[in-house]
């Protein structure tokens, strides 16, 4: 196990390097001049040149990359935004909790929908309930997230006024001058985003759970459990679910990890200042440090979650443990 973790961490470093290098390279292929943008509209060419030098933009790409890495490792900092000179650490630090609220809350919601539906469908294949589930799955996968988001926002947020349309409320530390704060406000603002975010995943997971449970129901050890006289309830919980959920755990880890990098559509529709929005803004402004900040954070999430999921899998499935 120990060897395995060490190997994974070494690979993590390699992946990290690869992702950041590629991002850097992509950035510099785009024909735009961040220095000009940073300097402002009314900047003189000399000022722009000054800015360029200050931001190291007149150096070669590898040198810039080196400064970036040095900053990260030595100072533990992600640099400062070209545009507003704010620390990227702060920017990311403010955006991450928003995305985290969305993603984790959404994950709980989508599991709460998908798992029971998937199991019930698997237990009664081809019944009315099963067919309705499959219709739900089809709709959930087919409808674009943006469309669902806008419709719900208009219908429930605007027309019916039950829930707020947009905006985010901090749970713990509302900034000065904020119009809302605290748990209730936070939750009310998150309900619609959670629903929109969760629908697609719920559909996919419902189908996956259904097919895993159906496969597991046909396994020999389930027949053995019944032959021992176990009631169906126990067969389902002890024997079927434990095995059927294994692949779900893996998928869940990766889906959450990727989503933490920024659920761009949902955040944009509902005006949530999360990592997705931050990344989009950074791209619009050609603000490399900001984009890199989100990229670094997202990559770290994927790596860490991936490792956690694999270790967790080892705990759940004893066959993996004894590699």
């Amino acid at each position: 196990m120990f060897q395995y973790i060490i190997r994974r961490l070494l690979w993590a470093v390699v992946i990290f390097a690869a992702v950041t290098v590629i991002t850097y390279i992509i950035f510099f292929v785009i024909p735009a001049d961040p220095a000009a943008l940073a300097a402002g509209k009314s900047a003189t060419p000399e000022f722009v040149a000054q800015v360029r030098h200050f931001l190291h933009l007149d150096r070669s790409i590898p040198v810039q990359y080196f400064y970036f890495v040095k900053n990260l490792i030595v100072h533990g900092s992600l640099g400062t935004s070209y545009v507003n000179r704010r620390s990227v650490d702060t920017i990311v630090g403010e955006a991450a909790p928003v995305t985290a609220s969305l993603v984790f809350g959404g994950a709980i919601l989508w599991l709460a929908i998908a798992v029971p539906i998937g199991i019930l469908s698997a237990l009664k294949p081809r019944s009315l309930a099963d067919r309705m589930t499959m219709v739900f799955v089809l709709i959930g996968i087919s409808l674009p997230v943006v469309w669902i988001g806008l419709i719900l926002q208009w219908a429930i947020g605007f027309k019916l006024g039950w829930l707020p349309n947009a905006g985010y409320c901090d749970v713990i530390n509302p900034p000065v001058g904020a119009t809302c704060g605290g748990v209730v406000d936070w939750a009310r603002h998150m309900v619609l985003p959670w629903i929109v975010f969760a629908i697609l995943f719920a559909a996919i997971y419902a189908r996956m759970v259904r097919s895993n449970v159906m496969d597991t129901l046909g396994e020999d050890y389930v027949r053995t459990a019944r032959a021992k006289g176990a009631p169906e309830r126990i067969v389902l919980i002890k024997h079927v679910l434990r095995n059927a959920m294994l692949p779900v755990v893996t998928m869940l880890g990766m889906d959450i990890a990727v989503a933490l990098g920024g659920a761009i559509f949902t955040e944009s529709i509902f005006g949530l200042p999360g990592l997705g929005r931050t990344a989009v803004q950074g791209l619009d402004n050609f603000d490399l440090p900001e984009v890199m900040g989100v990229v670094v954070f997202a990559t770290l999430c994927v790596i860490i979650f991936g490792l956690l999921v694999d270790i967790l899998y080892g705990f759940i499935d004893p066959r993996i443990r004894f590699e």
Partner: protein, 349 residues
């Protein structure tokens, strides 16, 4: 949960298991498949009944029907009397009591028949707790006893191991221990050694014999291997295409087989001691159970078939001088006696 009646101790007049005209069919997209078509047999206390047949003959489905383990698409009719109680009409709760308690079942593939994510000790303990009102410690100590009895070395430590940490033969021993831990009256073994090496098979069969002697358990041994039934069975039922074609005690079946399918089976077996130039072969293959042939289902492949065979269904009839020996064939007795002798001499060549 009631306490199981201790194994073979409970006395009961008549056979322990009495199956009468069992029929099981499955509704499929292509039509109705009659997997079991009028099967009857008896199992006596402490005896071993061998059910022999090839794949698709219905031997496994017969036993799954008795235990109520078929999928929901199955339609079962007939009677399966266990100590006089009809299992086919029993309530689901009663069936669950019996399964694993008074009638236990083991299956062919020990690799997949045990849950891979639970320790084997826990799985055996589960079997105990489902049928006995005892503490977990007591259940665990019974599980330990069971493992020792089937010859698992270092049993105490092995209780906490997972199935993949055992070899195929050891896994089957664990299955047997789990099946016998509640001292059932009947053990149904569905091809228990087919997936094992021949030396491991010998170990497992010897183990089952010893356990039967110690506990008095009656065994139903389902297999395609005539050698295995010759070694372990007291009585044999030969099935073909969802029906019983011959039924006899083991010596009678091997010394005076009466059905052309049995002759074909016995003749087509290559043997250790024999230097035969050519094996007897049964032409063609078993019929589809979706649209079985008219009359005798073996007639399309039978070298002795005549017109009556293709029109009428032969019923199981006793042999004249051996009323316990049943067979379903229209041939006259002299031909049968002659063919039986031919088969045996060819095999012993």
């Amino acid at each position: 949960m009631t306490t199981a009646l201790t194994g073979a101790g409970a006395a009961h007049a008549g056979p322990l298991l009495d199956v009468r005209e069992l029929r099981t069919s499955f509704v499929t997209d292509d039509g109705i498949v009659g997997a079991v078509d009028g099967v009857s047999f008896q199992l006596g206390q402490g005896k071993t009944l061998g059910i022999v047949g090839e794949s698709g003959c219905g031997k496994s489905v017969t036993n799954l029907s008795i235990m109520g383990l078929n999928p929901k698409t199955a339609r079962v009719s007939g009677q399966a009397l266990f100590r006089g109680e009809d299992l086919l009409k029993a309530s689901p709760a009663r069936l669950r009591e019996i399964r694993g308690g008074e009638i236990a079942m083991i299956f062919q593939d020990p690799m997949t028949s045990l849950n891979p994510v639970h320790k084997i000790g826990d799985q055996i303990v589960e079997a105990v707790l489902l049928h006995n009102d005892v503490s977990k410690q007591e259940a665990r100590s019974r599980a330990l006893e069971g493992l020792k009895e089937v010859g698992i070395p270092q049993a105490e430590r092995r209780l906490d191991d997972y199935p993949h940490q055992f070899s195929g033969g050891m896994r089957q021993r664990v299955m047997i221990a789990m099946a016998l831990v509640n001292d059932p009256a009947v053990l149904i073994a569905d091809e228990p050694t087919t997936a094992l090496d021949v030396t491991t098979q010998a170990q497992i069969l010897a183990l089952m014999k010893k356990l039967q002697d110690d506990h008095g358990t009656a065994i139903v041994m389902i297999t395609h291997d005539l050698g295995v039934v010759a070694e372990v069975a007291d009585d044999i039922v030969v099935m073909y295409a969802a029906r019983v074609v011959e039924q006899a005690n083991v010596e009678d079946l091997f010394e005076r087989p009466q059905h052309p399918y049995a002759w074909g089976l016995l003749g087509s077996l290559p043997r250790l001691g024999a230097d035969v130039d050519r094996l007897v072969q049964i032409p063609g293959q078993p019929p589809s159970l979706l649209r079985p042939p008219n009359g005798c289902r073996f007639s399309p492949r039978c070298p002795h078939a005549f017109s009556r065979c293709r029109q009428e269904d032969p019923r199981l009839m006793p042999v004249t001088d051996a009323p316990e020996h049943l067979q379903a064939c229209f041939l006259d007795e002299e031909t049968k006696a002659r063919e039986a002798v031919k088969t045996l001499t060819a095999a012993a060549a």
